[in-house]
Symmetry: C2
Subunit: 331 residues, 2 copies
């Protein structure tokens, strides 16, 4: 199909996790012209969640005064291990999903082509397609939020490996004697530098009697702590928060240096809530540690940057995946 | 060129490091029909070493009652960072080499096509081509000797990345508070599980007054300690050596689990002097740790095996590289 015919076509990008489903409607220039967010309610079971994803898509389409028939393709990023070729979510522990044929199910309901992939892979694709005019030969996307995940692009394509699990970088061990991780190991990257790890360390320090501005604002339990609060505290000269964020930056630098030693990427992009909230504070520290730790020559001319996409990386990447999928089908 | 014409053709595989140069002559069935080993003498400078590589090749050819004109192509594995496309050794710290156009230099002397790559990449290629009838989609080769290096094969091809440094797995940090590594960091894989690390730990234990059969045989300084001695000591029930080898196996397992989490390979092959000497003792421990440490589903149906090639992996891989190179040029 030639490009002129595509001018009036729309793509849907869906990003869904254990808590929320976000659908965005994109025009052919990848401008988001409307979006809808609803809760996932995973406790209602697989079928209910699939129905809610379809509902979220239809509401976003309606929000834009469009009809589902104007949608050319739908891309969906799912949390966990995804087989894009088969369209199956193989394993998603947060949702208690196992072998769910998500692509087929949504296609059955909406009668529109659907393509799925792992959510972090999709964020990486979104960053690769929108943030680089000249495409790097290889790129690693590292997303640091409640957990830590990664996506790998080699020769312009997402690389997911034999078991479709490549990029599980949150669970690389960098401190064998470090704190216990949710996965059962000790000293995983995620257990040392995720938002959960940073919050755990701050709460522990407060329990140990250390002082922080945060407990004045939120109380000693620090119940509603958010990434943005860290930024505010550091801005107001909070030594405790600064120290703990610096420690996390050091671990991020070591983990990225490990990845550079292994993969020799052209570009490393850091994203996710922690990076978004603290970019100017932590990126210089991260880059300093990488340059100190990576093996000589491995970082020569390598770009290490923070993503500009923020929370939208998921839906933008998913919409791009949808368009790429359609392009491949047209060949 | 058709295959029948190739029947009488020969390929040379060269493996050279800081101490020795090994050249093997291979027939079209990749049987080694003769080989020569000489010392590198890197202190004599770049030109002298290049002359010695050419000399070593010519001696191996003569050993087989052949003439250099019967050689179709020469493959050379060099230690350090190599750019195979340009034929240049970018950086080889053990040799004090920087930007040496090795391919061109050897071609000038011998008038035979030459192709070069990093030595560990070449060992990985050798293992991939000779040890698997059905080729895996992806493979990581991990070679544990004095140091630790790795090679990565993706979609049947060696992957060396943006700076040609992919596979520098000896310097991934797995214990931030671990012993200092030659690279300046703490707790690198190489500083925890290489032959040097194992020997250092045994010598330290002896200094601390612990008992081992090895000091009875070699004296308390353990000067001439070799990988094979570890095997003998364990066989004779040496608790100290067994404990230190077990510790190293644990670190190897954690490092391999990290690599599986990141790359999701179909096959992991372990080779090098330490694995060769201790295979039956340590492979079960390594595999146990990998299965305990890797993220769920990342190891499903993944093959983790010890290489059978031993010390020959370098020259076999280099000869295969030479033949592959010629095949590409013929297209």
């Amino acid at each position: 199909m030639d490009e002129t015919k595509r001018e009036n076509e729309y793509y849907i990008g869906v990003d869904f996790g254990g808590k929320k489903i976000l659908s965005g409607v994109f025009n052919n220039k990848f401008e988001c012209i409307g979006s809808t967010k609803i809760s996932t309610k995973s406790y209602r079971g697989v079928d209910a969640v699939i129905t809610r994803i379809a509902k979220c898509i239809l509401e976003a389409v309606d929000e834009c005064d469009l009809n589902i028939n104007s949608v050319s393709a739908i891309g969906i990023g799912a949390p966990g291990i995804v087989d894009p070729e088969k369209g199956v979510v193989i394993f998603a522990p947060n949702l208690h999903w196992k072998d769910v044929p998500l692509k087929q199910e949504i296609e059955n309901i909406l009668k529109v082509p659907v393509v799925i992939d792992n959510d972090v892979n999709i964020c990486t694709l979104g960053v690769y397609e929108t943030e680089f005019e000249i495409k790097p030969s290889s790129l690693i996307g590292i997303f640091i939020g409640t957990g830590i995940g990664g996506g790998i692009i080699i020769n312009g394509k997402l690389y997911s490996g034999f078991n479709k699990t490549a990029g599980e970088i949150g669970h690389i061990v960098i401190d064998v004697n470090g704190p216990k991780c949710g996965c059962g190991n000790h000293g995983c990257f995620e257990a040392l530098a995720s938002r959960s790890a940073i919050f755990r360390n701050i709460k522990q320090a407060v329990k140990n009697g250390e002082k922080t501005i945060l407990s004045e604002i939120l109380g000693n339990e620090l119940e509603d702590l958010k990434s943005g609060d860290l930024r505010k505290a550091i801005k107001r000269g909070d030594d405790l928060v600064l120290r703990i964020v610096k420690e996390a930056s050091g671990y991020i630098g070591i983990a990225v240096a490990n990845l550079i030693n292994i993969l020799s990427p052209e570009v490393v992009v850091l994203g996710g809530g922690v990076i978004e909230a603290l970019e100017d504070k932590i990126m210089p520290l991260i880059i300093e540690t990488i340059n100190k730790n990576a093996f000589p020559h491995t970082t020569d001319n390598v770009k290490i940057v923070a993503s500009k996409l923020g929370d939208d990386a998921g839906i933008v990447g998913a919409a791009i995946l949808a368009k790429n999928y359609l392009k491949l089908r047209d060949v």
